[in-house]
C-alpha cells in the first residue's frame, strides 16, 4: 500500500504548487549563490516551486518506469527515444507558433512512434542488427531535430526567446505551469498503470514465455511500456533535456538494483532515488547562471550509483571485499582452533588473536591451551566442517558462492531438515 500513499502525496504536492502558480515571476539570477539557495529553500517563487515539483515528479516517473526498462534490457531504447523526439518538439513548436506544451507533446509522441517504427522496419527487412538500427535512428532523428531547432531560433518572428535550447540540456526553472500540468498528468497516469498492472509487468519482465503461457498478453504490455516510456521521455525533456533524459531512466533503477532483491522495493527505491536526484539537480542548477538542470540531475544520480556500487550491503564491490577479508580472518581463526583441539601448534599471530578473544590461554612457555569456551567453539566448528564436507560429497551439486560462507551458518544455509539428515548419515558413518 506504500506506492498508493506515495502517489497521493505526489498529487497533493503538485496541486499545492499549481494553486499558487499564477504569480510566476521572471527569474532573477542576479544574486550570489547563497541568496539563490535561500530563495530556493523558501519556495516562495512560483518558478522555483514549479521547477522543484517538476523535477521531483520527473524523477519519480522515470525512476519507476526505469526499473522495468533496466530489468528488461531496454536501456538503449530509452536513449534512442530521448534523442529521437527532438524533431517532433520542433514541429510541434512550429505548428503552435509558440512554446505550448500540448502541441509539443503531440509532435514529440509522433516522432517517438516514428522512431520506434523505423527501428522495427530496419531490423525486420534487412540484415541490420538492432543496436546498429538504434544508433542510426538516434543520430538521424537527433540531427534532424538540431537542424530544425537551429532554424527556428534564427527565425525573426521568434527572435532568440524561443527557449528551445533548454530542450537539449534541460532547465527546470524554465518550466511553465502548462509543462508541469502535462508532466503531472503523464506521471499520474503512468504510475497508476504500473500500480494496477504491476504483477503483469513483473511476470512479463521476468519470464516472457511463461507469462505468455498463462495468458498474459505480452505484446500489449510491451507496447504499453513503450508508450509510457515515450510519454515519460517527452514530458521530462523540458527539465532534463533530450541528451540526458535516458540517464534518469537507467541510473536510479540500476542503483536500486544494487540495493535490493525484491522487485516492488526496487521500483519504489528507484522512484525515490530519481526524485532526490531530480530535486538536487534543480536546486544546484538554481544556484547560478549557466547551470543546466539535466546534467546536474544525472551527476547527482551517478554519485548515488557510485555509492551503491561501492557500499551496497549485499552487492557493493567494497562491501564484498571487506566481507571476504573478514571471512578469511575467521577461517584462519577456525583453523587455529581446530589445530589446538588436535593438540597441534598455531602460529603466534593466530594464537594472540585467540587469547585476545578469550578462546585460549597460555599454558606455559609458547604453549596454548583452549579455554572452556574455546573448546566448545572448536568442537562446534569441527562438527560443522564434517557436516559441510559430507554435504558437498553427498548432495553433489552446490552453488559455488555458498562454499565460502561461514560454516557456522550451516543450519541457516541448508535448512534444519537437511542438517538433521546429514547428522544421521554422519552417525552411521562413525558407527561403521
Amino acid at each position: 500500500m506504500r506506492p498508493r500513499r506515495l502517489a497521493v502525496g505526489a498529487g497533493l504536492w503538485t496541486a499545492a504548487a499549481l494553486a499558487r502558480a499564477e504569480r510566476i515571476a521572471d527569474m532573477d539570477i542576479g544574486g550570489g549563490w547563497l541568496d539563490q539557495a535561500y530563495r530556493f529553500l523558501q519556495m516562495s517563487d512560483a518558478s522555483v516551486r514549479i521547477g522543484a515539483v517538476g523535477s521531483i515528479l520527473l524523477g519519480v516517473l522515470c525512476g519507476a518506469l526505469g526499473s522495468f526498462i533496466v530489468l528488461r534490457g531496454l536501456s538503449l531504447i530509452g536513449d534512442t527515444l530521448g534523442h529521437a523526439v527532438l524533431p517532433g518538439v520542433a514541429v510541434g513548436f512550429l505548428a503552435a507558433g509558440a512554446k505550448a506544451p500540448g502541441p509539443i507533446f503531440i509532435g514529440a509522441m509522433a516522432a517517438g512512434a516514428a522512431a520506434a517504427g523505423c527501428m522495427g522496419v530496419a531490423t525486420r527487412y534487412s540484415r541490420v542488427k538492432p543496436d546498429a538500427a538504434m544508433g542510426i535512428v538516434l543520430s538521424g532523428f537527433f540531427g534532424l531535430g538540431i537542424v530544425l531547432l537551429t532554424r527556428i531560433q534564427k527565425m525573426p518572428s521568434f527572435g532568440n526567446q524561443s527557449g528551445l535550447d533548454n530542450f537539449l540540456f534541460g532547465q527546470a526553472a524554465a518550466m511553465s505551469v502548462g509543462d508541469l500540468v502535462w508532466l503531472a498528468s503523464v506521471a499520474a497516469l503512468c504510475l497508476a498503470v504500473i500500480l494496477v498492472f504491476f504483477k503483469q509487468f513483473a511476470a512479463v519482465s521476468f519470464d516472457e514465455i511463461y507469462a505468455h503461457s498463462i495468458g498474459i498478453p505480452i505484446r500489449l504490455f510491451h507496447w504499453l511500456l513503450m508508450c509510457m516510456l515515450t510519454a515519460a521521455v517527452v514530458v521530462s525533456i523540458q527539465a532534463a533535456g533530450v541528451v540526458l533524459v535516458s540517464a534518469m531512466l537507467v541510473i536510479p533503477a540500476s542503483t536500486a538494483y544494487l540495493l535490493t532483491d525484491r522487485l516492488p522495493h526496487l521500483t519504489l527505491m528507484s522512484a525515490a532515488i530519481g526524485a532526490f536526484s531530480g530535486l538536487m539537480g534543480s536546486f544546484i542548477s538554481f544556484l547560478g547562471p549557466s547551470l543546466p538542470t539535466g546534467p546536474l540531475m544525472v551527476l547527482c544520480a551517478a554519485f548515488l550509483f557510485a555509492l551503491a556500487y561501492g557500499f551496497s550491503p549485499r552487492h557493493g564491490v567494497l562491501t564484498r571485499m571487506m566481507r571476504r577479508r573478514s571471512n578469511r580472518k575467521r577461517a584462519a581463526l577456525e583453523d587455529a582452533l581446530r589445530e589446538l583441539l588436535k593438540g597441534g601448534a598455531v602460529e603466534p599471530r593466530a594464537g594472540a588473536e585467540l587469547v585476545r578473544q578469550g578462546l585460549a590461554q597460555s599454558g606455559g612457555g609458547r604453549n596454548l591451551i583452549l579455554t572452556k569456551e574455546g573448546h566448545a567453539r572448536a568442537e562446534r566448528i569441527r562438527r560443522n566442517r564434517e557436516l559441510w564436507e559430507l554435504y558437498l560429497t553427498r548432495e553433489a551439486e552446490i552453488a559455488l558462492d555458498h562454499a565460502q560462507e561461514d560454516s557456522e551458518e550451516i543450519e541457516h544455509l541448508l535448512g534444519t531438515e537437511i542438517v538433521q539428515r546429514l547428522e544421521e548419515e554422519l552417525e552411521k558413518g562413525r558407527a561403521e
Partner: protein, 252 residues
C-alpha cells in the same frame, strides 16, 4: 474419453523453414509421456506450439477438445531453465506466486489462498526452506524445482515440461521423478522432454519419438526398439541404445 492433447496435421516453421511436419498425435488423459528425439527435432517447438506460444503454419492443437485459448487454465508450462535471467530481483516464493497470476485475471490481487497454494507447491518440491531466498542464490537443481513448483501452483490437468532434467543434481532428478509419478497417480497428463533415453524408458508410460515428424508414439515397451530409435536418431544411436539395453538388463 477426449484426449488430453490432440494435434492434427500440425506443421510449424521458423522463418519459413519447417521444424515440425504433419504431426498427428493423440495423447490420452492420465499418461506420463516422454518426448525424445535428437537436437533440432522440434521437441521444444511441439511444447511451445501446444501452449500457443508459437503459431502453427498449418493444422491444429486441441487440449481436451478445445483450442488452447479456451483451455489455458488446464495446462501448465515449464520452460527451460536457461530461458530466464536468474539475477532478477525475486524470491523463490515470488516466482511460484506467478503461477497464480493466470487465474487472477486483469485486476485480481493475490489472496491468502494463493499464498497458501504457492507455499504448498514449494513444499511438494522440497523447497519450502528456500522460499525467501533470491533465486540466483539457488543451485541449478533448486532453480528447476522452483520452476516446477510454479507450474504446480497453477493446479492444472496437463503439464508440459521442457527438459527439466538438464543440469540438475541426482537428488533433484529423484525428486522430479517422484513428483511426475505422483501427478500421474492423480490423473494428470504430463509431457516431459528428455535427453536421458534410459530414464525415459524406465519412468514414462508412453514415449513420443520425434524427429521433425512423429516417428512413433505408444507405450514405452513397444516403441523403445532399436529400429524405431534408429529411425529417430539416424544411424549412430543403435550402439547407444544397445548399451542402454545391456545396462538395463544388468540392473534387473
Amino acid at each position: 474419453m477426449i484426449p488430453a492433447i490432440e494435434t492434427h496435421n500440425l506443421t510449424v516453421s521458423y522463418s519459413k523453414r519447417p521444424v515440425l511436419w504433419n504431426v498427428d498425435v493423440a495423447i490420452p488423459q492420465g499418461r506420463l509421456v516422454g518426448v525424445i528425439g535428437p537436437n533440432g527435432a522440434g521437441k521444444s517447438t511441439l511444447l511451445k506450439t501446444t501452449m500457443g506460444l508459437l503459431p502453427a503454419s498449418s493444422g491444429w492443437v486441441k487440449i481436451f477438445g478445445k483450442p488452447i485459448k479456451e483451455a489455458r487454465r488446464r495446462v501448465a508450462y515449464v520452460p527451460q531453465r536457461e530461458s530466464v535471467d536468474w539475477d532478477f530481483p525475486v524470491t523463490a516464493l515470488d516466482v511460484v506466486l506467478m503461477g497464480r497470476y493466470g487465474r487472477l485475471g486483469w485486476f485480481g490481487r493475490l489472496k491468502a489462498s494463493d499464498r497458501q497454494a504457492a507455499q504448498e507447491a514449494l513444499q511438494k518440491v522440497g523447497m519450502a526452506a528456500f522460499a525467501r531466498r533470491q533465486i540466483s542464490n539457488l543451485s541449478g537443481g533448486q532453480q528447476q524445482r522452483v520452476f516446477l513448483a510454479r507450474a504446480l501452483a497453477q493446479e492444472t490437468d496437463v503439464y508440459l515440461m521442457d527438459e527439466p532434467f538438464v543440469g540438475v543434481d541426482a537428488a533433484t532428478e529423484k525428486a522430479i521423478l517422484e513428483l511426475l509419478s505422483e501427478l500421474r497417480e492423480r490423473g494428470k497428463t504430463v509431457l516431459v522432454v528428455s535427453h536421458d533415453l534410459d530414464s525415459a524408458r524406465r519412468n514414462c508410460d508412453d514415449l513420443l519419438l520425434l524427429n521433425m515428424r512423429v516417428v512413433a508414439y505408444g507405450p514405452a515397451k513397444e516403441v523403445f526398439t532399436p529400429a524405431l530409435l534408429q529411425k529417430t536418431y539416424g544411424g549412430r544411436l543403435t550402439i547407444l541404445s544397445d548399451a542402454a539395453d545391456a545396462v538395463w538388463e544388468a540392473k534387473r
